[in-house]
Amino acid sequence: MDPNLVPQPELIDEPEVLQDAEARVFYATQWRLMWWKFRKHKVAMVAFAVIVVMYLGAIFAPLLAPYRADERHRGFVYVPPQKVRFRDEHGFSLRPFVYPLEQEIDMQTMQRKFIEDPTTRIPIHFFVRGSSYKLFGLFETNIHLFGADGGKVFLFGTDDLGRDMFSRILYGAQISMSIGLVGVFLSLLLGLFFGGISGYYGGAIDNVIQRIIEVLRSFPTIPLWMALSAALPPDLSPIGVYMGITIILSLIGWTALGRQVRGKVLAIKNEDFVIAARLSGTSEPRIIVSHLIPSFMSHIIASLTLAIPQMILAETSLSFLGIGLRPPVVSWGVMLQKAQNVNTLMMAPWLLIPGLFVVIYVLAFNFLGDGLRDAADPYGN
């Protein structure tokens, strides 16, 4: 719109009459400005907090989880999520407790059912000793945040093998939430490399890279992922599969980033500060690394944030279809594979809970990325 219409204080400021607040804006670095703008985005801040909490949960999974991921509880197959209570007819108790479960056969449907026995309480204790593990792979300990004294506690129920869903979701977070980060990091390297040289050198190199991107993008992603992951050797170790899937995801994921980097480089490479660097004899790779990349890093970070949810959605979908990660690796997608059948789902709808975490995680990253993108745009309102 017409700049006269809404007077813009930034444009008519003059250093000598700067107010304190204005002076701060005037001399702030790009990252400062971005942070100030980002702070105003309440939703993005909340999303950021959610993400931090989720990653802390994944890092401290062994401590937070009452059981190991592969621990089977005999006689506790398809246990529904248990209610944690503070009061019942016997009165209020500061210490939370659950009721013990008793298995029964429903004579009408001939299905096994668990019913709570309200006559006894199983108190929940904190910092209890259980199975031992190594925190961060360093400290051997057997302390768990909580546990039921003389019974079992399954906050999110159990699966077909009697494994605690709550513990598995925590352990699954380690895989699911890291695959996005690693995949995006690989995409970033590929995208910066190909997008950078494509935009910087132009000409034939640019043409070839653009065609490659075009071809890769015209494959519908899921069928292409399907084909590539079918190509992973079946006898690959779980870690090998994890790496393989990550590489496959980033092989296609880099194209969007590559295009963006190319566009930015094209726009910036003829700016005065780049020409100045070139005239003063700085080498080409150095110009790219120390002048071009920093100047659009904020945009790249915003795009990366938006690319992470794509990765986890892809991993989850592939694992769900049985061509991604496979047991014994625990990821949210692998867990959801158990929920593929409608009949199972009718009996144990809590098997969908990992999906809920996928949605929360992806939603949080989308909001965060949206906030970052706004903050990274110096010409936004």
């Binding site: 017409d2 006269n4 007077p7 008519i12 400021d13 204005e22």
Partner: protein
């Protein structure tokens, strides 16, 4: 002020009167006071120039007249318009995009904008955009409107109008587009034409042509003209009256000759000195006004110009100067001319 008493009354000869107009913008960062108590009149068939630098509120004032300001704008004061039947309408009482306001925009007060490039839709033909108002307000058929559109294009000096009328704006040059904008304004047979920096976005060589065209059209259609510009030179031979605006206020107003020959306000003097003169003496320098416009967020307690004023004194920071009459139609807002008789004549000008 006695303005409140004069309910919707205006001089018989005037077609437009702006009385004590203030416009504020409510923004996240605070309130921007864009226009602070502006008053001016447009006599029927005459032309008035509003001059000031970027951000002084001249565009906001002109947008207020046709109520085209964004929703965040808060407007007080009165804008009176004399209808064809002699009735007076207070435009500030009308709903911005209501039927009455649209009638005034479509038939009475037309505008030409700063940027002819982006003021036309890129995906509609010129014929389509030119005939829009004629179809809506003059009950023409499509064929009639098209014929009229070609006539108008010829009138504003577009060659091959018959062919051009079916082209798209991006196929025309900047000057041609501004001519189309003028034709579009004329298509409504308006009585008032507001031109908001019509030549700013054009090449210097085109500026004179477009200004000449506006002047010709004013004579041909007997228009009353409000010309908004930052260029005192443009105003000199285009208008009868000049208002000099600074920081949302009119600091000086009067007949164009008087202002040129005998500027009173230090800001006006500064503006005069900053015009390069073609026949200036050798060695004479263009003198810029020192400093720049202070933040529009600030609330003023003294004369808005005092920080940059070469003739400032103590009292300048202690009160906003009142408007003083210093000639038959010459007014100035400056402490230099306030001799305790501020109340003398603050109503109409």
């Amino acid at each position: 002020m006695k303005v409140g008493v004069l309910m919707d009354k205006m001089d018989q000869d005037h077609i437009l009167e702006v009385q004590d107009l203030t416009v504020k913008f409510l923004m996240d960062e605070g309130t921007v006071h864009a226009v602070n108590g502006v008053s001016f009149v447009v006599p029927a068939g005459k032309s008035v120039g509003i001059v000031g630098e970027s951000g002084c509120g001249k565009t906001v004032s002109s947008y207020s007249i046709t109520q085209l300001l964004p929703k965040s704008a808060r407007l007080t004061g009165r804008i009176l318009f004399r209808e064809r039947d002699g009735q007076v309408t207070n435009i500030t009482n009308l709903t911005p995009d209501g039927k009455e306001m649209r009638r005034i925009r479509g038939k009475e007060i037309a505008m030409i904008f700063q940027e002819p490039m982006s003021s036309l839709s890129p995906v509609h033909t010129i014929c389509n955009q030119l005939s829009e108002a004629m179809l809506q307000f003059q009950g023409m058929t499509k064929r009639q409107a098209r014929t009229r559109a070609v006539e108008l294009l010829q009138l504003v000096g577009i060659p091959y109008a018959e062919r051009r009328v079916d082209e798209y704006p991006f196929q025309l040059s900047g000057g041609m587009r501004q001519r189309v904008m003028i034709a579009m304004a004329l298509s409504r047979n308006p009585r008032v034409l507001i031109a908001d920096e019509p030549t700013t976005a054009l090449d210097v060589t085109l500026q004179a042509q477009v200004l000449r065209l506006i002047q010709d059209m004013q004579n041909e259609f007997n228009l009353s003209l409000v010309l908004i510009t930052h260029d005192l030179g443009v105003v000199a031979h285009m208008v009868d009256h000049v208002c000099i605006m600074y920081m949302g206020q009119i600091v000086e107003s009067g007949p164009v000759k008087e202002i040129y020959d005998d500027p009173k306000h230090p800001y006006t003097k500064g503006l005069m000195n900053s015009i390069p003169k073609l026949r200036g003496r050798r060695g004479e320098r263009v003198v810029p006004i020192s400093g720049s416009v202070p933040s529009a967020y600030a609330v003023q307690t003294g004369c808005p110009f005092c920080e940059r004023c070469p003739e400032r004194s103590k009292r300048c920071t202690q009160g906003i100067p009142q408007r003083v009459k210093i000639g038959s139609e010459h007014y100035v807002c400056c402490h230099l001319y306030q001799s305790g008789k501020e109340e003398q004549d603050v109503i109409n000008a």
